[in-house]
């Protein structure tokens, strides 16, 4: 009996500390600056425990009964805290608020535990033994938890499942307390039923949580993974190292927040600034909203239509505070219309006309994506260009995939447009290429919107110069029925990785 009691103390101490560590680690992952996160979370937590201890004096009856309820509540709130925080981070602006609220609730409940327990068992032992034993096991539990957490739990279970596992322990403590203190409480049957329900819910969560944490176990990403999701269409991963946020789609880097402005300014401004009064803009791909951010720098633009396959992607970049910080809430602008659909059929069936069309798809790594780099596709897109319209195509690297780059340029030319290839240097990508195209001669712009960090009038002409190692190659166009580009691309990247 005695040892069971003190194991209970050990377990509840461990649970409390685990929830605190989970919150601190999660905040460091997601928000960076771990010193600040851990300090504020430990501070809040200890303070909340003090509140809990203070509140314990107002509980005078049914101590054991209430103790069980507190354990159960802790199991639920603590157990689901990590999963809840991950979801909140992905889909809401209120991550920090929720995090501190959870820390305070857990702290208050943990603060109630030990005083109540000491009062429950005070008649069984001398007072000095109660204090000595309870506090000894309390600190032992804390030591165990703090060692288990970094060595076993985080590497093998991940944050979501660790919290759930300890939630289950909390609920288990509640369940066996109904047996240990059976003579000190009424309605044990009801309590036990609730305990079983909570344990079952947490076990289900534990089984499902694998999907959330699976990606975090991939070790291909150099930095901390702060978000990972298998959507219907692709595998989205966000990583963060200090202030550098990177987006990977199916393991391919899409941008690094440190230098994406170079890519997106170069994608948009050489073309869009060359159009006298651009009113309607179409973006194909670009579900991160960063190209749209650049487009919205033109007050004349009245509407931006963005067609991206993946609703999860555009939703993520419309709701997540960190990501809307990057795209300056571009998707929330009333000018922007997001259409989640397959770009090729949309382009083929829609009849609207646009002054500027941005084609920003992932590289042609397979035959499906390769369809979006064919003569048939560019012909279909060209029908949407207004009289003065221009289109720009993200065209992979003229340096690392030189054949592919010039194949894309040739494909656009063969679809009946004048082409103006150019390139820029983006540190996280290397030398990167684009192709501007239209039915008329391109006249380089003489002004750009204020506040650009990379594109300017002086540097513009250099972008259109290709040094000998990236100079034009004569390539066959990419057609739906041969897709030479997919083979070229494959070969190009094989050549540099061996």
């Amino acid at each position: 009996m005695g040892i069971l009691l003190f194991i209970t103390v050990l377990l509840i101490a461990a649970c409390g500390l685990i929830y605190e560590l989970v919150a601190g680690t999660l905040a460091s992952y997601l928000l960076g600056d771990s010193v600040l996160q851990f300090s504020t979370i430990i501070g809040c937590y200890l303070f909340a425990m003090g509140i809990g201890s203070a509140l314990s004096r107002y509980i005078d009856r049914g101590l054991a009964y209430r103790f069980v309820w507190i354990e159960l509540l802790l199991g639920v709130v603590g157990g689901f805290s990590s999963a809840l925080l991950f979801l909140a981070f992905a889909y809401s602006q209120g991550f920090q608020f929720l995090m501190y609220a959870l820390v305070i609730v857990i702290g208050v409940l943990v603060g109630l535990e030990i005083p109540l327990l000491m009062r429950i068992i005070r008649d069984r032992y001398h007072f000095r033994d109660v204090v000595a034993h309870v506090l000894t096991f309390d600190y032992l539990g804390a030591l165990g938890a703090s060692l288990l957490f970094p060595i076993l739990l985080v590497p093998h279970l991940g944050l979501v499942r660790s919290a759930m596992l300890f939630g289950i322990l909390n609920a288990a403590v509640a369940l066996w307390s109904t047996f240990i203190f059976a003579n000190q409480m009424a309605r044990t049957a009801v309590l036990r039923t609730f305990c079983v329900i909570v344990i079952a819910a947490l076990c289900t969560g534990l089984a499902q949580a694998k999907r959330i944490t699976q990606a975090a176990e991939d070790n291909i990403y150099a930095d901390e993974i702060i978000f990972a999701r298998d959507t219907h269409y692709q595998h989205i991963v966000l990583t963060r190292f200090k202030d550098d946020i990177r987006l990977f789609l199916n393991s391919h880097l899409q941008f690094s927040s440190r230098d994406e402005y170079r890519y997106h300014e170069a994608l948009i401004h050489p073309g869009l600034s060359a159009i006298a009064a651009p009113r309607r803009v179409l973006v194909l791909g670009g579900g991160d909203g960063l190209a749209v951010r650049e487009i919205l720098k033109y007050p004349q633009v009245e509407s931006v239509t963005l067609v991206d396959l993946d609703p999860e992607m555009t939703r993520l970049f419309s709701t997540n505070a960190m990501l809307t910080g990057l795209n300056q809430k571009s998707f929330l602008s009333p000018k922007v219309h997001v259409i989640n659909g397959d770009a090729f059929p949309w382009v083929d069936s829609n009849t609207d006309s646009f002054d500027f069309i941005v084609i920003d798809f992932p590289d042609p790594t397979n035959y499906s994506l390769g369809k979006l780099y064919t003569t048939t596709f560019y012909k279909a897109v060209a029908r949407h260009l207004s009289e003065q319209g221009l289109m720009v195509v993200q065209s992979t690297s003229p340096m690392f995939a030189r054949d592919s780059y010039w194949c894309i340029a040739e494909t656009i030319k063969q679809s009946g447009m004048l082409t103006y290839p150019y390139h820029v240097y983006v540190p996280s990508f290397g030398e990167w290429g684009f192709v501007l195209a239209g039915h008329h001669e391109y006249k380089p712009p003489t002004t750009f919107p204020a506040g650009l960090r990379f594109v300017d009038v002086k540097g513009l002409s250099a972008m259109f110069q290709f040094p000998p190692d990236m100079a034009p190659l004569s390539m066959a166009p990419n057609r739906l029925n041969d897709q030479v580009l997919v083979h070229l691309y494959d070969q190009d990247w094989k050549d540099i990785s061996h």
Binding site: D342, Y367, S368, L369, L372, F377, R479, N481, D482
Partner: protein, 489 residues
């Protein structure tokens, strides 16, 4: 037993009931009404529809087309579900060469050929074909991996022979253009014997030759005339980029033709009697009698003796029984790393593999699809196989199909939710030894009477271009004779 999802489906488009009524000379009601029209086209497959297309294009409108089934199209019929349209049989047309004048004209009409260029969205997207052999996929159907020197030599020698035949200009599409008595010797031996005479005995080469004959002719090389075997390879350019295809296969062409001539087409009209007189032809169908100057008989020719009064039985027309199935896949099976491909064939399978109906789509993301599975029953005699087709229930064929696919896609049962099966007792004419140059066939091509035969089986084998050619030629012939009779009368 491992639990597996329930697979729905059944037999569809069965037409043997009507066929057996004709065969058994069932009693049909006497006609209640008489319709006068200059031309009656019997049969709404590619030959019949092409005849209608030609008549209408020439400004001639005094005709009707009678189709036995509820849907026109014949071997080019198609189906559609919530995922995609899909073919029931013929699913492509090789890029037509210069000599296929009528096909090129049709494709210009349909916007498939523009200013001498083929519309890219109708050319089969890449990757086109793959073969499963030795537990893996290879691109293309002609075996290219695991060949020994001997195999390579034989493939090369065959290629040289074919190249020489191609150079003679005697093997053409349509076949009539290059048809000459000089090739008659090739029709006297089987393709298998022809290969044997040339010491082409490589197993892998023979597998491929057999596959080609089963695919285009529904016959093995033993059952195929050497002329037809050579025609298969020598009539086409080796470097053509194609074929032309659509999600619903050649059903797309049928749809476009119906947009133009649908007003002349009457479906669900079983013609049960045709009587040829001195001044015209009477066609009996349902409760009507059509009094016509000419009949274009575009239905399968084997039906003719059962319909045409006084016609002698045919001797040189043999047909292959086929089975096709459309499988609805709620998810895409694992592919062993190969990209989803249009046509997938399995080495050493009795079947012909399957074609993916969503391959020819502009979409980049496919979650569900329909596969059209092809199976020409070639082992044993056609009549035995027709009995087999009719005697076995849907569950038997479903299992046979899944069994075949399972070797290549072990997870197929978890992916398929529906299998609809179409049984065709007389799917296509077989170019058997002696059939191509048979006097019977050649006399029927001459169109002497008022019944003008137009089915592709007059060529000896069933391909789109032959059907279209025969339909157009019969229409031209009818127009010529009609204007001639008007001029003289």
């Amino acid at each position: 037993m491992k639990s597996e999802p329930r697979i729905a489906g059944g037999f569809v488009n069965d037409s043997f009931q009507q066929g057996h009524m004709l065969r058994d000379r069932a009693a049909f009601p006497a006609p209640k009404r008489v319709e006068k029209t200059k031309v009656v086209i019997v049969g709404g497959g590619i030959a019949g529809l092409s005849a209608a297309w030609r008549l209408q294009k020439r400004g001639f409108h005094d005709f009707v087309l009678l189709e036995m089934c509820d849907q026109a199209g014949g071997n080019s019929r198609w189906g559609e579900n919530e995922i995609t349209a899909y073919p029931w049989a013929a699913h492509y047309v090789p890029v037509p060469g210069r000599k296929a004048v009528f096909v090129r004209e049709l494709f210009e009409d349909l916007g498939v050929l523009k200013d001498g260029k083929w519309e890219e969205r109708y050319l089969c997207f890449t990757p086109q074909e793959r073969l499963f052999l030795y537990g893996r996929w290879q691109e293309g159907i002609e075996p290219a991996v695991g060949l020994k020197q001997r195999d390579r030599d034989q493939f090369r020698r065959l290629e040289e022979e074919i190249h020489a035949y191609r150079g003679t200009g005697k093997f053409t599409v349509p076949m009539d253009v290059g048809f000459t008595e000089e090739s008659a010797d090739l029709d006297r031996i089987s393709f298998a014997d022809w290969l044997r005479e040339r010491w082409m005995d490589s197993n892998i080469l023979n597998w491929y030759m057999n596959y080609c004959c089963r695919d285009d002719y529904g016959a093995t090389t033993d059952q195929t005339s050497a002329w037809a075997g050579i025609q298969y390879f020598a009539s086409r350019e080796p470097d053509e980029k194609g074929p032309l295809t659509w999600p619903e296969g050649n059903g797309w062409i049928v749809r476009r033709l119906l947009e133009r001539v649908g007003g002349f087409v009457r479906t669900g009209q079983l013609v049960h009697r045709i009587v040829q007189g001195r001044s015209g032809v009477n066609v009996f169908s349902g409760d009507a009698r059509y009094d016509a100057d000419f009949v274009i008989f575009a239905a399968p020719t084997f039906l003719a003796p059962y319909l045409i009064e006084g016609m002698a039985p045919l001797r040189s027309f043999e047909y292959s029984p086929w089975l096709t199935a459309n499988l609805t896949l709620d998810r895409i099976p694992a592919n062993y790393g190969a990209d989803p491909t249009w046509d997938s064939v399995f080495m050493d399978s009795p079947t012909l593999g399957y074609v993916d109906a969503t391959h020819q789509t502009l979409r980049t993301h496919i979650e569900r699809t329909v596969w059209t599975f092809y199976w020409a029953l070639v082992d044993g005699s056609p009549s035995q196989n027709r009995r087999l087709l009719l005697s076995k229930d849907w569950g038997y064929w479903k299992e046979a199909i899944l069994h075949d696919l399972e070797r290549v896609h072990p997870d197929i049962r978890q992916c398929v939710s529906r299998i609809d099966i179409m049984r065709m007792g007389h799917a296509m004419a077989r170019p058997t030894v002696g059939s191509i140059f048979s006097p019977e066939r050649r006399s029927m091509k001459e169109m002497r009477g008022r019944i003008l035969f137009a089915n592709s089986d007059l060529s000896g084998f069933s391909i789109f271009e032959e059907a279209q050619y025969r339909g157009v030629v019969a229409a031209e012939h009818a127009l010529r004779r009609l204007s001639g009779s008007r001029a003289t009368g």
